[in-house]
């Protein structure tokens, strides 16, 4: 029997759960460090889930895009 079309995508479910865990972590860090920016903490937590080379490539790709826009 084919799966119902409205079945949740496992990858999306996994991403949602990871986002919930990350959100709780970011909230805890910001509660302990009131001077911290939520956006900086949130993006750092996302980047820490990636490999170092992927983090560097994100940084360089954005740097290149910024230079082109100037």
């Amino acid at each position: 029997m084919p799966a119902p079309t409205d079945a949740p995508d496992p990858a999306a479910v996994d991403a949602l759960e990871r986002a919930r865990v990350r959100l709780r972590a970011a909230q805890a860090i910001c509660a302990a460090e009131p001077q911290a920016s939520f956006e900086n903490v949130w993006h750092t937590l996302i980047l820490l889930e990636e490999s170092p080379v992927d983090r560097l490539n994100r940084s360089l790709a954005r740097g290149r895009a910024t230079a082109i826009q100037r």
Partner: protein
């Protein structure tokens, strides 16, 4: 179609060559911060070399078909050739200790085959503060928040 990543096999081959030849170097600046998870944007990868006259440095360049351009009164030391375009050479870091002192606290990060020495985020912050340049000061909040985030993760 997605553009190829800026930092790919050619750049990794250069770092591999530096490590294989035993060159004393550190990845510094915002590329080092990005490797450690800081949400920082950069256009280049700064390499702090202990000794620009080290023959091992020239051997590493030769291995990947690259070359060295010595500094002049108006230009810094440069490298050129395949796989080196993203890299800038640094011989001094503002507000930090000697190369040997900073290298002793370097962290090791896996990039491709090699583990490369990287200046810790706390030291990158010190160097950015020391320059006093507006562009360096403007990135400090993001670097400091990344360091706070790292420290809290390590506490868990």
């Amino acid at each position: 179609m997605d553009a190829p990543p800026p930092f790919s096999d050619r750049e990794i081959a250069f770092l591999d060559a530096l490590v294989d030849e035993g060159v004393d170097f550190l990845v510094v600046g915002l590329a080092a911060a990005a490797l450690q998870g800081a949400p920082a944007v950069t256009q280049d990868v700064d390499l702090w070399l202990r000794d620009l006259t080290d023959p091992r440095f020239y051997r590493a360049l030769q291995r990947i078909g690259a070359f060295y351009i010595a500094p002049t009164h108006s230009t810094p030391p440069l490298i050129g050739g395949a796989g080196t375009e993203l890299f800038d050479i640094v011989v001094h870091m503002h507000g930090l200790g000697s190369f040997e002192q900073e290298a002793s606290t370097a962290i090791r990060i896996n990039v491709g085959r090699a583990e490369i020495p990287v200046l810790p985020l706390s030291r990158i912050i010190e160097s950015k503060k020391a320059t006093g340049r507006p562009k360096d000061l403007s990135i400090l909040p993001a670097l400091e928040d990344a360091l706070r985030t790292q420290e809290h993760r390590h506490e868990r």
